[in-house]
Amino acid sequence: MGELQLMKGNEALAEAAIRAGCKGYFGYPITPQSEILEYLSEHGPPRGMTVLQAESEVASINMVYGAAGAGARAMTSSSSPGISLMQEGLSYIACAELPCLIVNVNRGGPGLGTIQPSQGDYFQSTKGGGHGDYRLIVLAPSSVQEMASFVFEGFDLADRYRNPVLILADGALGQMMEKVTFPAYDPEEHRILKPWATDGARDGKERRIITSLHIQPEKMEELNLRLEAKYNLIREQEVRFELVEAADADILIVAYGLSARIAHRAVDLARERGINAGLLRPISLFPFPTEAIRALAERVRGVLVVEMNAGQMVEDVRLAVEGAVPVRWFGRMGGIVPSPDEVLQVIEQMDGAPQETVAEEVYQ
């Protein structure tokens, strides 16, 4: 069975990577996630993992391309500016359908910004990020436990769909210490055949080519359609979310990651004051829990999106709600984490406000 430990989020994630059978880690230091590289530099090699401090994030992601293409479980981690540098490589990886894990411990931007936690990379993570039509599977942990668990799940999803998986965390989750249990996980049992990998055309096997180049438009469109079919399958099969007191909610909060923890507290405070608030926490940001939000929107009076950015996920929530009820947004930026009381105030306003006022505020 699992073992209980007290760990920092970044370290729990790194430890999980070793236990998940990741064979190649390639990364470049950046706050607030350097502990991943540091932890792996110490603990990875003795346990069979190649750990390489690359010359840049551009190099890291292309090393991941090579390693994943060679058939190994491979990963990199970084924070926002470094993830921006990786976008070309990610687009190639998505097109060549190489399974791998990328971790973004999101910090505040734009620019060099701040090293404090943020959710400002939601668009970049969920809408493609690099050039062309592609999607990453995006998992958003909200606890140290999930920082670890999603590594196992992430590698399994990546292998199953031959698709890059992104864990989108934030600086606070990386740095906080919590209890974590590592599941019993034998990478051998989760190993799937990768007949497409370029590991040497041995034993009379046909040689293999890994490429993202399809110069004939018809061939490229064929690939685009195949990718879209895969993304649609992922949308059908892999939506993950958590509900808290949502069944009888009048006001539904939608929040992920660290914001969801704050929102959860705000829901508790609201319930103490007799307001029926509830929470939907998207766990997979792609695929997004559109259907679940849509269904709940039929039953609530208003929806509140809480995020640590200028309003990014709120666009997906509005698309899901389709105008059924007013959708309000509340967030902080710059690395500032909203307090449960701030969120509670918005809930109270929504609860007290006549319907029209709430609707107006949406478009202010």
Partner: protein, 265 residues
């Protein structure tokens, strides 16, 4: 007199076989312009892989550039790479498969402009791979723009009056820089403009592969090559021009051999 009796075989007037296409070259028709050095380099490279008997043990990486389609011709496991990133991709492959022979096949724009950081650091780490650097002094694939290795005075579509050093700098002798790095085990410059040069190149490539077996650091082979289309010359003239101009700026020969490397460390 020789005549080609198929794409596989060339015979002389007595029907003696003088050339057989290596098994590791596919039958696909080359997309390269007539007279381009890439075709010869592909052939020699695959001959070496064949003769060393390492077809099943070899993984090649070719990035964006004229040779991005190398995988259509080299009948081995191959990965295409983003522009400039071939050595990073090759690093990823080699680190996961240390017992495979891994090579990158890069142009001058790829290796010495957009990918300079990856080039220097791959060699500095002493990755046990073979880096093949085809220097044609121009951006072939995108239609003949200036490359970092474009010679002074040379006309390209972005240096219409000829390259002058002020503003765009001198031709970059990256191979000389590479030879300074302790991680480099074998650094040499070759060309493919004459049969003799091709023979020497073949020796160099063989050494580049066997070095990997011996874990002797990065092998780096620059191949000075032509680009008849980009240079706007016929193939013969381009090879003559190469000899007279390219080889004075980029002189052939070994810049570093494994024994010299041992002295360094």
């Amino acid at each position: 007199m020789t005549s080609q009796i198929s794409t596989m075989q060339t015979v002389d007037e007595n029907l003696n076989c003088v050339y057989v296409k290596p098994d590791t070259l596919t039958d696909a028709r080359l997309h390269y312009c007539p007279g381009c050095g890439h075709g010869v380099i592909h052939r020699v490279l695959m001959e070496v892989v064949d003769e060393l008997g390492i077809r099943e043990e070899t993984v090649g990486v070719a990035p964006v550039g004229c040779a991005v389609f190398a995988y259509n011709y080299m009948d081995i496991d191959m990965q295409e790479a983003a522009h400039g990133r071939a050595s990073a991709v090759a690093t990823g492959v080699k680190r996961m498969l240390p017992h495979r022979y891994v090579f990158s096949y890069q142009g001058d724009g790829d290796l010495a402009a957009i990918g300079t950081a990856e080039t220097i650091h791959t060699v500095n780490r002493g990755e046990n791979i073979l880096m093949i650097f085809v220097n044609n002094a121009i951006y072939g694939m995108t239609g003949g723009q200036m490359a970092p290795t474009t010679l002074l005075g040379m006309k390209t579509s972005t240096t219409p009056s000829g390259r002058i050093s002020s503003g765009v700098g001198h031709p970059l002798k990256i191979t000389e820089l590479i030879a300074l790095l302790p991680g480099a085990g074998y650094v040499t410059r070759q060309s493919v403009h004459t049969p003799n040069a091709v023979r020497k190149l073949k020796k160099a490539l063989t050494r580049g592969f066997t070095m990997q077996r011996e874990q002797q650091g990065t092998s780096f082979i620059e191949i000075v090559s032509n680009c008849p289309s980009g240079w706007k010359m016929n193939p013969l003239d381009s090879n003559r021009w190469l000899e007279e101009n390219m080889l004075t700026v980029f002189p052939p020969g070994d810049l570093k051999t494994p024994s010299e490397r041992k002295k360094e460390s």
